[in-house]
């Protein structure tokens, strides 16, 4: 996300909104262009939304969906894989379990690289989808009280969202997590330096009435080295209809998905639940991003 200025993010949001309004304008805009989706670890939403995005722009898609079906299984380096794929594709979206792999890729690539998630480090296109969702649901970013709940220690989407949202005036954060999964201090640094107000609590229900946006996260098994710690913390927060009775009528409930049990399925029909709209928005913002990067590299 640090690669994008606020103005560039706003531009992507404007383009996404135009795509939603007038999809026919964009139907053939990437004709004869190819997107390579290099997914070294499993993904549903990110990979499929990238592929759907490219198809809806009239382009083609090639790639792999797990490391075992690529030469990475034979020990090929990221750099060599990228140099090879650059021979076949105009733009690359990649996910890799190791942190910093997209930086290595970008160093060796002759086409634009989009980070589709690198371990627990960054997931910038999820953050763009989150920002578009907030913009569409609320109409603005300024003055919102945003609650972030669950695994705030390893939750890369939370870290990126804090970083992106704190650049808008009047935003206040409420950080809700068990003690063991609190936001790391380096994530709070831009809040402290920018004078952005935030509160930390372990109690979700007591702060629910204040929130305009509630961003729930999953406690991720794959981020723990110790299974016992995962089991102890995984059910810390479960959002139910009963808890929601004290929330604002126009609260926006978000989740990067997949969820396990942290949002009860009974909430799904509630108009305040916007996590599946958020998944759809992921396609639109990725369309805007692919367009922008292809235009810049032309």
């Amino acid at each position: 996300m640090a690669d994008l200025s606020v103005a560039e993010i706003d531009d992507l949001i404007v383009t996404s909104q135009d795509i939603i309004r007038s999809p026919e304008k964009y139907r053939d805009i990437c004709r004869y262009k190819k997107l390579a989706t290099l997914f070294f670890e499993p993904s549903t939403r990110t990979r499929l939304s990238f592929e759907a995005a490219m198809y809806e722009l009239g382009g083609q898609v090639l790639g792999f969906s797990e490391a075992s079906s690529s030469s990475a299984a034979k020990g090929e380096s990221v750099a060599d894989t990228i140099r090879t794929v650059c021979c076949y594709a105009d733009i690359i979206a990649m996910r890799h379990p190791k942190e910093g792999a997209p930086t290595v890729a970008a160093t060796h690539a002759s086409v634009p690289i989009i980070n589709g998630g690198d371990g627990g480090h960054n997931h910038p296109t999820q953050t763009l989808a989150d920002l578009l969702t907030i913009k569409l649901e609320k109409g603005h970013f300024e003055g919102l009280t945003v609650g972030l709940c669950g695994d705030l220690k390893f939750g890369r989407t939370v870290h990126s969202l804090v970083h992106a949202m704190c650049r808008y005036p009047g935003v206040r954060f409420v950080l809700i997590s068990p003690e063991e999964l609190k936001v790391p201090s380096y994530v709070k640094l831009p809040l402290k330096e920018g004078g952005v107000p935030y509160d930390q609590t372990t109690d979700l229900v007591s702060v629910l009435p204040e929130l305009d946006v509630l961003y729930m996260t999953r406690v991720q098994r794959e981020r723990f080295f110790n299974e016992d710690d995962y089991v102890r913390l995984k059910d810390s927060y479960i959002l139910t209809s009963e808890k929601l009775t004290c929330a604002k009528p126009d609260l926006s409930i978000m989740h990067p998905l997949p969820r396990v049990n942290e949002i009860s399925t009974e909430i799904d029909p509630d108009p305040r639940a916007c996590y599946f709209r958020q998944a759809l928005n992921g396609k639109y913002i990725r369309m805007a991003l692919i367009l922008k990067l292809l235009e810049e590299s032309a």
Binding site: S77, H96, K98, E99, G100, V104, G119, H121, Y186
Partner: protein, 139 residues
Amino acid sequence: MNIDAIKNGLVIDHIKAGQGMKVYDFLDLGKLDCSVAIIQNATSSKMGIKDIIKIDSALDVDLNALGYIDPIITINVIQDSVRVKKYHPELPETITNIIRCRNPRCITSTEQQLPHVFKLTDRQKDEYRCLYCESKAAR
């Protein structure tokens, strides 16, 4: 103890006592064929004791990287037996293959051929972060 004065070369002074060999290894001084003297635990009015390295040859390396090891080091450049320059190395913007990233999730943990590159992210706090995973360098 007498160490001959050098004619053309470097005197690396005010090295924290005990760090002399680290600087020696970092600059790969063992490969030089000129005279190199390491003085350990020399008396210092400022530091109590210190290490000093004298190299009797001009050295073509970026000595600013020493700023990461110890920013209070003083480098004296000697030409024709006269000190022509004296400075403290600045913290380098980037250090490569001096320290290793210890994050087991970093791409450098599996791709052994990658250089371990750290960028200076906070000059006040001497803070370096891995170019790839952005983990803070462990001092």
